[in-house]
Symmetry: C2
């Protein structure tokens, strides 16, 4: 068995898009971190291109925190098929569904990518607002299947 949770997941069996609790971390004092696998693309069939993914990362990281106060981290997967979302002390799967729904709707309404300049970003040239909106729109179109992982 490998250390990384997703290395023990059969990526040929999953049905993207989906939202899956990938694991929890228990702190010694009683806090719990819930890490979700937000899978946008079918593994090994499709993937997000980087400028759209990068813009979506900026918008999800910024906008999600207007809807939820306990977000620890939102980060892309290196395989470009999804994101990991880590939340502390909220065990509600429904809250995560609702959070992603609201956040992606914010993306559709955005008129610019936040912080896409050389002062605030590590690679300001690698952004696409339209690319991010296309990814968000496709994900929202399939909202009914987010809860079906396999």
């Amino acid at each position: 068995k490998m250390n990384v949770e997703s290395f023990n997941l059969d990526h040929t069996k999953v049905k993207a898009p989906y939202i899956r609790l990938a694991g929890t971390t228990q702190g010694a004092n009683g806090d719990t971190i819930y890490k979700y696998d937000l899978r946008f693309c079918q593994p090994n069939k499709e993937h997000m291109t980087m400028p759209g993914l990068h813009s979506l990362e900026h918008m999800m990281a910024e906008f999600s925190r207007n809807h939820h106060s306990q977000i620890v981290d939102i980060s892309p997967m290196g395989c470009q098929t999804g994101f990991y979302l880590s939340i502390i002390n909220d065990d509600s799967y429904d809250n995560v569904l609702s959070l992603l729904d609201k956040t992606l709707n914010d993306v559709l309404k955005a008129t610019e990518v936040p912080a896409c300049n050389e002062v605030q970003c590590g690679w300001a040239a690698s952004h696409s607002l339209e690319g991010a909106k296309d990814i968000a729109r496709k994900m929202l179109d399939e909202k009914d299947s987010w809860t079906e992982v396999m």
Copy 2:
């Protein structure tokens, strides 16, 4: 002021490579998550290419957990200039320096990328062991400057 910590960081002032505590999250029960900005590339000057970054993600996520038991997450930045590392209940910056040193040395010794197949990975074709080693080697060569952020 923006929600995302790095959007309030002046990326024109930093000197990569560096390791920086980006922020902490306090759980209501007393646990603390420390999130580090592991910056491999100078913002807006250079970036990692995706196959090497993706392989490095697999190796850092897998190997780091052999050296530290309290890792919550290791994930790439969408800007391709670094990674975020989240650790729970270990406030030692020196431990993070040592963890990255050991983990990148494991990368140099690796003979294959763990989990780079269609069962265990979301995009098995997008990997480069040599690309990951080049990134790791360059980072280790500049180890003396990891503690200098600006």
